[in-house]
Symmetry: C2
Subunit: 263 residues, 2 copies
């Protein structure tokens, strides 16, 4: 098993941000700064639930939406939050196949052709590479005293991070609650039928890429007894900011934390 190797640390406004690697995988772990030099876990951080956070296609682990959501989860609930660069993203090299698919996506976009078929097939490919990486990362993170094995784990990922998170959650019993959304059902609906943990699902009512019925079909596919759809007016990239607050409250309910006023 590979361990977490910390490479950099910064701190601001109560949030400690630590870059790490697990083998070849680069990631970032955000944690609440604790008042005491030694927290309840025996490390300088208190033990708390962990939220795994995936980034969208074409972005990376420290994209503003990622750091913003991480801050909300840390300051609102005291969670630890981890994000890793997906294959071919951020600090990671692209394969020839990555380059081909990205070029195909740009060509379609340029030509005004549907992006969906390319995104669906490329994301499914990335998910095959990313799921074992997430599992190795979770193994390593759970070795840290402030996280530990057996504690609650959530997953929060939209767009490409839903394409990765659905198969991850389906095979990973340590994940006990998940926020997904903004994806097509084509490669995911059958896998979603195996997911039974509580799910919050986000959909844009006027998405120019994902037909409304397709988004609703993916939400419908989850076998979860408790699932909530949040659909908002607006196009694909217009997800309202307040949905991040809603996700914080979802994880607070399911990972067992109170929300403070700041969330």
């Amino acid at each position: 098993m590979q361990s977490v190797h910390f490479t950099a640390e910064t701190s601001s406004n109560g949030v400690v941000e630590r870059d790490f690697t697990v083998g070849e995988i680069p990631g970032t772990l955000w944690s609440p700064a604790t008042a005491n030099a030694t927290g309840s876990s025996g490390s300088r951080f208190d033990r708390a639930p962990l939220v795994l956070m995936g980034h969208g296609g074409g972005t990376h682990k420290k994209w503003p939406a990622m750091t913003g959501r991480a801050r909300l989860l840390v300051t609102g609930c005291g969670f630890h939050v981890a994000c890793i660069d997906a294959p071919g993203h951020g600090d990671r090299p692209r394969t020839a196949h990555d380059e081909q698919e990205i070029a195909a996506l740009y060509r379609a976009r340029e030509a005004g052709e549907p992006e969906g078929p390319i995104v669906v097939r490329y994301n499914a490919h990335l998910a095959e590479r990313a799921v074992p990486e997430w599992q190795a990362t979770l193994d390593a993170l759970q070795e840290l005293p402030e996280i530990g094995a057996g504690g609650p784990v959530g997953y929060f990922g939209l767009n490409m991070a839903t394409a990765i998170g659905v198969p991850l959650t389906a095979v990973e019993p340590r994940i006990t609650a998940a926020v997904f959304g903004l994806h097509w059902p084509d490669a995911l609906a059958e896998t979603a039928k195996r997911i039974t943990v509580p799910v919050e699902f986000m959909l844009q009512w006027d998405d120019e890429h994902i037909p409304r019925a397709s988004g609703l079909a993916l939400f419908d596919a989850f076998a979860s007894k408790e699932k909530t759809l949040h659909a908002n007016t607006g196009r694909h990239k217009e997800l309202p900011r307040f949905e991040a607050d809603g996700a914080v409250r979802f994880f607070a309910r399911h990972l067992g934390r109170a929300v403070t006023a700041s969330a």
Copy 2:
């Protein structure tokens, strides 16, 4: 114009509950207890936004769901919250027509026949009686110094209270944000197309009375640039409790209040 006539007052855990009448209409007004004998408004209450709250069919202004939501809105945001008994409900007399429709509903339920057609037509009838009553009540409430004219007003009503609230909001420019849900589109969709204020809409994904496509069609009908659908697994009466918290946060955003940790 008729005035608010207060008839009873109780107080518990920071919430003052005052029963009132406006003409023949009985209502309840919940307000935050203020520390000072004289609030900022010149009355013993502070001035704050008002949320009008409608109750569902067969219940009344002090049904537990109403008092629970009122408490969340008052303690969470410092709002004033008013609910009135709908025609034929609570402390109000039933007409012969009310009795006929209620009997028809019970017969359908007993026979296992669809309730929808009866509920839709009876609620549309009740809305015709209720809309002018709400307007008279709002006129009177805005004469109170702690509410005042020109302040933000929200409307929160599901089931029958959506059948009343949609036509009310469509004709009442003083209402600037509304929470609706759990109703058929038949008598409401055309009216909903005239509503442009922010709307949060609740729908039960497994509603045994309202077909999923019907609920989605009513949500779709609102012309609001900003609208959010919250759909949850479960049957008609299984709306999760946490949706009341979500409604508090919706009104906090749109009526201009911060949410405290208790909400």
